[in-house]
Amino acid sequence: MCLSIPSKVVSVDREKNSAVVDTMGVKREAGLDLMEEGSVNVDDYVLIHIGFVMNKIDEEDALESLKVYHEILAKMDEEERSRVVLEDDNCENRGTP
């Protein structure tokens, strides 16, 4: 199932047209090919799907849902956390409606 955990943009590489995002402390790269040029900036909250930034999320909404995720994730160690986050992003079925 999609947790659709909001990710925070840490840095943007305009050359490669990609961003490094932080999802609950797990950092990874995501393509910006689906976003208007210049529309994604550091500190924005975004939704990631199979390696791409899919859209931006309103900051207030993002922070609200992050609070819930944090409570749960706080109970896990680092390794687990990274597995769970990647598993979510990697969900093969997210192609589903």
Partner: protein, 375 residues
């Protein structure tokens, strides 16, 4: 601690108090319904939420869920999987794809079986990795077996764009992207499934915008509520649908406003349009042919189209499912998984007869997994 799984993480989003409160509210307002509300959730993600949290048991008897065709694995006809197998069997070929597709049975084999037999078949984390694999293997052909609804289509388009602009000439595409609205239309115009409301898929709408559902309320008099995937989202969406029905409205509403707009991601839509066009026919597993229900490569990119370039190795016969499997009836909203004679006996997630049991999004899989919840 190490036993924690994604599934447990999910439990955190089940706020029993909120769900119960919404259930009570729905129960109260549903008393005013003139006829039962039969809601189709098109998306397999919703089916799972509904089954996992036992939502049907919380709702009054005059609200029923009908499971729809919303899983790219479930609706893939066997002949398309046979295509993937035929492509993977070609000399010097690497077949790459996303997800559960690898386990789905074709007419005689599956990609998993082929891989075990030594074919080079690789699951991808992101479609972009296909580009890397193609560049690292210049002496091989790499075929991307592209699947999914409107949600994953722009990622395929981005890969196409990269391959074309970077002139990577050993990457081919087998396109199986399907579209939600024509499928809903096919089910509704068939008239057998009595559906009077829809829960609209949210991830599709992030890309396309909720506007793609706009014709439905007018055409069929059904409310459509675009919903998120958490149980609270789904309950909220049901409440909105009940209200519409009680008040005699049939409108398109967005519950999942934190991610979905009417317009969607315009850049992604443009990218898709550059490379892909409607396909005049696509056979949906169990449902049959639905006109304009899928996409294909535009003519000018025919040189990248695995279906054209490797046409001579691809089987053309349509292949139907196992006689006992009633997936088609389920996908059309006419039956529930338990009505299948082999459900849970000859057909289980470990040895599936049909793809509704294979896919983690499939209705049979959801019923099987959460059977305990059903009691």
């Amino acid at each position: 601690m190490s036993e924690l799984k994604l599934k447990d993480l999910y439990d955190g989003f089940r706020d029993p108090a909120t769900i119960r409160m919404l259930a009570a509210q729905i129960g109260e307002e549903a008393k005013a319904l003139h006829e039962p509300l039969r809601i189709m959730e098109v998306c397999g993600g919703h089916t799972h939420t509904i089954m996992k949290y036992g939502l049907p048991q919380l709702l009054p008897g005059n609200i029923d869920f009908i499971h729809g065709p919303g899983c790219p694995v479930c609706i893939m006809p066997k002949e398309r999987i046979d295509h993937a197998i035929a492509l993977a069997r070609m000399e010097d070929t690497i077949l790459v794809t996303l997800g559960d597709m690898i386990r789905v049975p074709g007419s005689q084999s599956s990609l998993a079986v082929e891989r075990a037999a030594g074919r080079d078949i690789r699951p991808l984390y992101t479609p972009m990795d296909a580009l890397k694999i193609a560049k690292e293997n210049p002496d091989k052909r790499v075929v991307f077996f592209a699947i999914g609804f409107e949600t994953t289509t722009p990622m395929t388009a981005a890969l196409l764009h990269a391959a074309v602009t970077q002139k990577v000439d050993n990457l081919y595409f087998h396109i199986n992207h399907v579209l939600v609205p024509p499928a809903i239309d096919a089910i509704m115009s068939d008239g057998q499934a009595k559906i009077n409301a829809f829960i609209g898929p949210s991830h599709v709408s992030v890309i396309t915008g909720a506007k793609i559902y706009a014709p439905l309320p007018q055409k069929y008099g059904t409310p459509v509520v675009v919903c998120g995937f958490e149980p609270v989202d789904v309950m909220q969406g049901i409440l909105m649908a009940v209200r519409q029905q009680v008040e005699g409205r049939a409108e398109l509403e967005i519950e999942y406003s934190r991610s979905v707009t009417m317009e969607g991601n315009v850049k992604a839509q443009q990218l898709i349009d550059m490379y892909l066009q409607p396909r005049s026919h696509f056979r949906w597993r169990g449902i049959g042919d639905i006109p304009d229900s899928a996409l294909e490569l535009r003519e000018e990119f025919a040189y990248l189209d695995a279906e054209k370039v490797f046409a001579e190795v691809l089987p053309t016969e349509p292949i139907d499912d196992h006689k006992l499997c009633i997936c088609g009836t389920i996908l059309k909203g006419l039956a529930k998984p338990m009505e299948c004679k082999v459900f849970g006996t000859a057909c289980t997630p470990n040895s599936p007869l049909g793809s509704c049991m294979v896919s983690s999004e499939g209705a049979c899989n959801a019923y099987y997994r959460y059977a305990g919840v059903l009691g």
